[in-house]
């Protein structure tokens, strides 16, 4: 059984009286452990698709199931709880909280759990260890490079040990070297830690790291290509 099952998902936005179709009857299955790349031009609906998978947006029609949960039918509050337990989200612009240290940023999702302070510390240090930033736990985001910030953001995404990692252009704001490190890290999380990853990207080199790449155009799935590298 696939970890993610999208069935005939349609999404339209309303701007004043005008309805703007973004996704049109998209159906995708993502097996557990897959590293899926989503490509497509701007406005093709890839980020919208990612938001729907993350449960931060709702489909206009169709259903989304992740694991045993029909996320499209959950209440706002239930959806927030589900996100906290099951999804790690990686943003293009890292989106770390500037007044919190690397440690505190990574600890943030754990504040929603019942873990003790010691347990939280163990989890945070493990996550920072995975992204090789244990020595930067007391640094604030402004004291880190872009690549390091994104690695802290990845630590934040994995600290609750979610099954699903969603990355929205995770290398879009990085230089080639840092981008390479981040992509290697994501690949490692997929292979070594068996995380299911869905990554939106414009960058064909980034997409090459995925085990499967889907192309979206004007809100519909137009092509399915096996990744050149990965697997």
């Amino acid at each position: 059984m696939a970890l993610i099952e999208l069935r005939d998902v349609t999404k339209t936005y309303k701007r004043d009286a005008i309805e703007i179709p973004v996704l049109d009857r998209v159906s995708i299955d993502v097996p557990e452990g897959e590293y899926l790349g989503l490509m497509g031009p701007s406005g093709s609906g890839k980020s919208t698709l990612l938001n729907l998978l993350a449960g931060i947006d709702r489909p206009t029609r169709g259903s989304i199931r992740v694991g045993d949960t029909e996320t499209s039918s959950l209440s706002e509050r239930a959806l927030a709880g589900w996100r906290a337990r099951n999804v790690g989200f990686i943003f293009q612009l890292y989106n770390l909280i500037p007044v919190l240290t690397a440690f505190e940023n990574v600890e943030l999702p754990l504040l929603l759990t019942n873990l003790s302070k010691t347990q939280r510390r163990d989890h945070v240090m493990t996550a920072l260890g995975i992204v090789a930033l244990s020595d930067r736990e007391k640094h604030y985001p402004r004291q880190l490079s872009g690549g390091q910030e994104q690695r802290v953001a990845i630590a934040r995404a994995i600290v609750t040990d979610p099954r699903l990692l969603l990355a929205d252009e995770p290398t879009g704001d990085l230089d080639a070297k840092s981008a390479g490190e981040v992509l290697t890290l994501l690949q490692r999380l997929n292979k070594e830690y068996k995380k299911t990853i869905v990554m939106v990207t414009h960058d064909p080199h980034a997409a090459e790291r995925a085990t499967r790449v889907l192309h979206l155009e004007k809100g519909t799935l137009v092509e399915q290509t096996p990744a050149a590298v990965g697997g």
Partner: protein, 383 residues
Amino acid sequence: MKFIGLVLKGARRSKRRTLLTVMSVAIAVFLFASLRAVLDGFNAATEASSSTRIVTLRSTSLFFSMPTSHAEGIKSTPGVQDLTWANWFGGVYKDPQYFFAQFAIEPDSYLRMYPEIELTPEDRKAFLDDRTGCIVGDGLAKRYGFKVGDKITLQVGIPIYGTRDFDFNVRGLYKSGGAAVDNQSMFFHWKYADERSIQPGQVGWFVAQISNPDQATQVATAIDEKFANSPNETKTDTEKQFQATFVSMFGNLNLLLGSIALAVVITTLFVAGNTMAMSVRERTTEIAVMRTLGFPSSTIFLLVAGEGLMMAIVGGIIGVSLARLIVTPDLMQAGAFIPVFGVNNANAVMALLLSAGIGIFAGLIPATMASRLKIVDALRRVA
């Protein structure tokens, strides 16, 4: 508890803005507590008034005097046990800015009828024996450094007492034994003032001791009837009513001070609310990120509201502490009019509750804004 760190970090984001917000609440709370202290002081004096003392004034106003011949009429009224009288002197010590109240009293009877004026037997005797002697409250003595044996010279403040300065010998420092008498005043012999008055034999007010407090109204009516249709008609009230009349000379203080306090509090509410709304607008993306991480909207609401509440309470503590330090008879020269002047515990608690109220109400709209934020829209604004 684990979210307190987040609240504190949020408040430290813009230290200057947080400081200004805290100080605006502190000033509002300081003003509230200070204004409340004035009202409390007046009320305390009224509440502490004796139920067995009634005060007779000229029916026209406290500013007009009566002849001493009224004394016999009052004393002979059934129910009256004892009688004393006093005048407001209004002298100037060195400079008008060094204001304190001075009363010319009939010393024997006044000290007898006001046991709240606590003197040692030696000081009492020394005062009674010296026609130019005076007694000063220990609070007043502390303020100006008066000691027993000192000489105090007062310039005449009310023309009726001529033009020559009055010299007094400090014969005792009294303590206040109740809120009906403050410790910031000076008392001296009525005769000393009267003999130099260009209109001798005049009294500002009489105070009668009555045997039965339940008959205060009847006795007061009987006194006033005695002087009805005379050139010096009187108005007699209980001491409590006299205090209330005295306070009412300043106008409707409750309304006046209450209006000022309300205006300050509402202004602060808007300032704090606007500041917090600005802070939330600046943090739109962060809030969206936290929501994405799984923070429920209720937690976001509490975090933002908690930040406002914390700033307001810190401001409240600063405001109340300042008020307690500054609003004292020693630092504020209001003791002559307000016997018990200071921020009492009930006032402090009320001021702290007010600051909490400001925090809660100022945070409501920003916290609602933050909790209702649409994650996708907020993230799109930045992307």
